[in-house]
Amino acid sequence: MSHFQNDLRKRAEDLVALYPVKRSAMLPLLHLAQEQDGYLSEEGITEVAQLVGTSEAEVRGTAAFYDMFHLEPVGKYVVGICTNIACLLAGGEELLEHATKKLGCAVGGTSSDGLFTLEETECLADCDIAPVVQVNHRYVRTTTPDAFDAMIEEVRDGKRESEIPSHGTLIRVRRSSGLQAPREEIAAQRATAQAAREARAAKEQK
């Protein structure tokens, strides 16, 4: 019985098939597991381990290395506020402090309604609109406390759902097609191209 529900199992298998080596699908699959559960559940980790053909310990150990993977449940919306250099110079620390009051939780904590988890992030590469705020890794571009509060209310009221899906959903665009040629055909093409190139190089040397 698969833990991945609906089309997730099929999407997971398609992802594994994309790579020459199964384990390469690790990070995309962990994102899928988070899409289903909002965080990395035990069952999700077990399923990913089966899909990539490695142990659960390997999966957990890999996941723990990366900031975007949560091994404990988080809110439906993870609010990330950057305080790195460009944001620091633009009041990132002050905005983060404000957010703790607005959401009623500490940095790393979750609001009492379970909706928002607040994080202090490293640079999110959007430094011309600083301090940078992301909700579920979508840039919301609210640089002032008032704009931040208004954004939080909109999210709470469900007005931003099309733009900001629940935590864990990263890429909503599905890969529509892939290379149709079989790998052996590609290998033969490459060998032909390489031979032609070598022949040209030899001719040039003469």
Partner: protein, 434 residues
């Protein structure tokens, strides 16, 4: 005086709201270069890139043409695009993947053709949710348009591109760490030698890893020729480059500027670019190439934006990010925050970096927040010296990768340029700006 005569090579679609769509891309000359390239011998395409002297735009500034030629001895298996842009205050690749994904894809197909690779991966940092969606959509559209997949535009060349999301780790920008992440492991940089993935890369096979901006230059180079690209700029720094300007300026943003022909002063003060400092404050210092780079004072504002020009003065253009601190900015707080970043992002493999980064961060924290001691200044420099002996530039290395030796840059710069401010913090028992 800033010069604006140079063409916009990678940011020509900046003013279009729909710059990310296939239709806009085709209307503005998209995929013409690819058709031209497919009519050339692959080694001729590579020769054009060689002639352009295109320096890699990721941070190290290694010539892209040479990176490719090292491989031509043995056929290369994989092309990997590094879009893990995480160097603090760098946001040019963010612009390119979100706003011009087809330009990136066209560049990747051209590079793959030159290298005769049939499998490419575009690794984007996971926090680029919109960028990931736009690049995946562009890949889908490129397949439908015949610019990707089997027998591209009716030629004998086939290529598949897989868009691969990262998951939040600065170190994955280091190319061997990126390969590890792409193999589904922790992003631990690999021990050198071999120095280049060209020798042993993805799955142990010869691999080329190039930056997003590097790839995005290729359509223009194929269209206009390597010589036309090399005619821009000066010396080793050819073409144009995207600079991400951030910090206390009126108009922070991504600006495409001809190499060497403009200065830091142009970038920061010209109304077309930064427009000067907020409230016309005085500039205190600026970081010329990401937080891994040593800082410059206002005396170096007239330095040209060129790789060698900046290196000569003891820093680097690095990732193309310029951060401006004004007269009211607290350099101690800025330095502490940078050391906190490195402490969080150290992968933990090498002792000098793992232990040093945390120790430095704690010493910086107590100076900024109260509890600092005068002897901390010597301690900080000693710790830095242990990570990068001699505190030289370019830095000496005691670690597997260059994350470690990047830590001393800001600490050493700040202490040597603003020692009095550190002492003021220590005597005041915390930050006098608070």
């Amino acid at each position: 005086m800033a010069t604006f005569s140079a063409p916009k090579i990678v940011s020509s679609r900046k003013d279009f709201d729909d710059s990310h769509t296939l239709s806009r891309y085709l209307e503005t000359g998209g995929y013409v270069a690819l058709k031209k390239a497919l009519g050339m011998f692959p080694e001729k395409v590579a020769a054009e890139v060689d002639a352009a002297s295109l320096l890699g735009r990721g941070g190290a500034g290694f010539p892209a043409g040479r990176k490719w030629s090292m491989l031509r001895r043995s056929p290369i298996s994989y092309l990997v695009v590094n879009g893990d842009e995480s160097e603090p205050a760098t946001f040019k690749d963010h612009y390119l993947v979100e706003r011009d994904p087809h330009q990136l894809i066209e560049g990747v197909v051209i590079a793959a053709y030159a290298l005769q690779v049939s499998q490419a991966f575009i690794f984007l940092r996971g926090e680029f949710a919109l960028g990931l969606e736009r690049v995946q959509q562009a890949v889908n559209d490129a397949y439908a348009h015949g610019a990707l997949g089997s027998k591209i535009f009716g030629s004998d060349f086939s290529l598949d591109i897989v868009v691969h999301p990262g998951a939040g780790a600065y170190i994955c920008g280091e190319e061997t760490a990126l390969i590890e992440a792409l193999e589904g492991k922790r992003g631990f940089p690999r021990i050198k030698p071999p120095f280049f993935p060209a020798v042993t890369g993805l799955y142990g096979e010869p691999t080329v890893v190039n930056n997003v901006e590097t790839m995005s230059n290729l359509p223009w180079i194929v269209n206009n020729g390597g010589a036309a690209f090399a005619a821009l700029g000066e010396g080793r720094s050819t073409g144009t480059r995207l600079f991400a300007l951030a910090g206390r300026v009126k108009n922070p943003g991504v600006y495409e500027v001809e190499m060497v022909k403009n200065t830091f002063r142009d970038l920061i003060y010209d109304p077309q670019f930064g427009g000067g400092l907020i409230n016309d404050k005085k500039i205190k210092a600026f970081i010329p190439g990401g937080v891994s780079a040593p800082w410059f004072g206002p005396d170096l504002l007239d330095l040209a934006l060129g790789q060698d020009e900046v290196a000569e003065k003891g820093s680097m253009l690095g990732s193309g990010s310029v951060v401006v601190l004004d007269e009211d900015s607290c350099v101690v707080r800025a330095t502490w925050r940078i050391t906190k970043f490195f402490s969080r992002e150290s992968c933990g493999q090498c002792t000098p970096c793992r232990e040093g980064s945390g120790w430095i961060e704690r010493a910086m924290y107590r100076i900024e927040h109260g509890g600092g001691r005068l002897e901390d200044l010597d301690l900080l420099l000693d710790l830095c010296d242990n990570i990068s002996p001699g505190l030289l530039w370019p830095p000496q290395q005691t670690t597997i990768c260059v994350l470690g030796p990047s830590i001393p840059s800001s600490v050493n710069s700040a202490i040597s340029m603003f020692r009095n401010e550190f002492i003021a913090h220590i005597e005041h028992g915390g930050c006098p700006h608070d």
